[in-house]
């Protein structure tokens, strides 16, 4: 599939030079774009394809009442800069007050912008999310944002391909989040470096589009350039509800062309990894990168058992930052905060899964919990289903959409020393606030932990 998409987007090739690749969809947000627009202005360049470029505000937007002014001057300026840039260069912006606003990787698929076979870029590493649709989608830096704005192309060498094949049926309560955490713990935070990972196998086929997005989203946490999943009937059925069918002449030939993108049975990958899905359990990270995770039934690992001196030091450093002792069962670890949100786990099905566990229960008195829907549309849909009431009744704060405490650029941050069960994607030191301690989990585990006040085996909480 990588080869098919690559070949279809190659504008120009030259010996000893990278291929020039055409970009079908360019998504922008407020944090990584201002310097790119500044660069265009200085060089007196225009945006080549404003019609293929869409912007939204998500990273530093407060998730409290949207009618109030933003207190943080820098955040307000950055949002104002995006508003001006979108206006000046003729780019569609889903602004603070738009019904279509949301985390850039949630709204792309939701609005039908993300489609199979596309090349998609955004100045954000979690752009890999869109690969769930059989697109080649990857994060870029600000200079490349400027490059795509000016030329709609990027010079690139084709990454290598890696197949991760998952076979077997997951046991109940083991989620897509647990699967991707399990994969990263096996291949490491740099296991996918230089590669595009294609996830295949019956376990992946059985996943919904939202579950597939969770998987592809965290490909970058394994160091991969992108993650992708071949389009199938699930992909088509999702998109039929999202794209404007009346504008399409021949729907059947369009969907057939999507199915043609799927990797051929005999195709060769540069590397192949096989994982038995039946071996996977709900996962919790214990350290300071997404590779450092254990199944919920296990205890904090011992650095003395590390395979190298380097690994031992990294483990010791992580345990010290996380204030954890080797040998303690992870279920004995108490938490202070719960965050349900982020481009990994803030879609409707994530909120439904958490709400199913929370219904009729109360958040532990020692825990402060919040839920931040991935988009304004997800929030609205959830409210129509009464999920907001379940969350609020349980003691959660029900917020407006945005990236929020996944990276804590807005006021939603952990205090130093606070321990958080978070459905986000990165547990780096200080990620959710200086001194904050992040444990990555699924929405189900986060909901169970919110009630119990410590990590729990979500399998015991699901009816």
């Amino acid at each position: 599939m990588l080869d098919k998409i690559w070949d279809r987007h190659t504008v120009h090739t030259q010996i000893d030079r990278p291929d020039l690749i055409y970009i079908d969809l360019h998504l922008l947000h407020e944090v990584t774009s201002p310097q790119a627009f500044e660069g265009l202005r200085i060089a007196k360049r225009h945006v080549r394809r404003p019609d293929l470029t869409f912007a939204t505000v998500d990273h530093n937007l407060p998730t409290t009442d949207r009618s109030l002014p933003i207190h943080d001057d820098l955040a307000r300026n950055q949002i104002a800069a995006l508003q001006k840039n979108a206006r000046d260069f003729g780019i569609t912006l889903y602004d603070v007050d738009s019904e279509k606003q949301g985390i850039v990787h949630v709204i792309g698929p939701e609005l039908g912008l993300t489609q199979p076979g596309m090349t998609i870029v955004c100045g954000d590493s979690h752009t890999s999310t869109h690969g769930a649709f059989g697109a080649l989608a990857f994060g870029i830096g600000t200079s490349q944002v400027e490059h795509v704005l000016a030329t709609q192309c990027l010079p690139m060498d084709k990454p290598k391909s890696m197949q991760i094949k998952l076979s077997g049926k997951l046991s109940k309560g083991v989620t897509a989040k647990d699967v991707i955490l399990g994969i990263i713990s096996r291949i490491g935070v740099d296991g996918g470096s230089g590669h595009v990972i294609e996830y295949t196998g019956e376990t992946i086929k059985a996943f919904s589009m939202e579950e597939r997005m969770t998987i592809c989203n965290m490909s970058i946490e394994a160091g991969a350039r992108a993650g992708m999943i071949s389009p199938d009937a699930t992909t088509i059925s999702y998109l039929m509800n999202k794209i404007p069918l009346e504008d399409i002449e021949d729907v059947k030939s369009l969907t057939d062309s999507w199915l043609d993108l799927a990797s051929d049975k005999e195709c060769q990958f540069d590397s192949v990894i096989e994982i038995d899905a039946r071996s996977l359990e709900p996962c919790v990270t214990w350290g300071t990168n997404p590779e450092m995770s254990i199944p919920i039934t296990e205890s904090i690992p011992n650095p003395e058992k590390a395979t190298s001196q380097e690994a031992k030091q990294a483990m010791q450093r992580a345990l010290s930052y996380m204030d954890l002792q080797p040998g303690v069962p992870i279920q004995n670890i108490s938490i202070d905060r719960v965050f349900i949100g982020s481009c990994t786990n803030s879609r409707l099905s994530d909120l439904q899964a958490a709400a199913a566990i929370l219904k009729g229960n109360k958040v532990n008195e020692n825990v402060k919990a919040m839920v931040v829907p991935g988009s304004t549309a997800v929030k609205k849909e959830a409210e129509e289903l009464g999920l907001d009431k379940i969350f609020v009744d349980a003691g959660f704060e029900w917020r407006e959409s945005g990236c929020s405490m996944c990276l804590g650029m807005n006021p939603d941050i952990l205090n130093p020393g606070e321990r958080c069960a978070s459905t986000s994607n990165r547990n780096f030191e200080g990620r959710q606030g200086k001194g904050g301690r992040t444990h990555l989990v699924s929405p189900e585990t986060a909901a169970g932990a919110a009630i119990a006040g410590h990590f729990v085996d979500a399998r015991e909480w699901i009816d």
Partner: protein, 196 residues
Amino acid sequence: MKPFTSHEGQVVPLDRVDVDTDQIIPKQFLKRIERTGYGQFLFHDWRRKEDGTPDPTFCLNRKKFKNGSILVAGKNFGCGSSREHAPWALIDHGFRVVISSSFADIFKTNCYENGLLPVELPENQTARLLTLAEEHKAFKVTVDLVAKKISDRQGWEEDFEIDPFVRDSLMEGLDRISHTMSLEEHIKNYENQLFL
């Protein structure tokens, strides 16, 4: 972009693996809309103790490494977020070269775009540099992009590999956008065949 041909500088050892861009430059400093001025925020949290005072043991705070311009670190340097503020902060602080046994893909590209040279060496060589930087008073190496060699004054020399286009771009300080724009005819042809 400042052209890069050869650079001699003191080595600063950062003996940690999987250094992520959240550590290189924490998110609270990403709200600015300029490309410059990030050097003061480089490794912000690691430079400080819990009470906010400078940590004298952290490499960037040690007097000995004050004039260092070549950072050496453990594997998988620059993993995580795509923030280009990471190379901006390294450059603004005075670094011209980062050496590691491996770099995260997006970070590496962001370095190329800004004239910061990421040099990949085998793990035993980066380990050697980490040790020598600690042992010597001011351990210097020369990174020669033209010859694709790194060497020290004691006669040690090691070749490194780099993509030929990247090397040419860095040596010329090439504006990559102008280069792509010179292929306008091909882009137009591609669009015509696609959209007409």
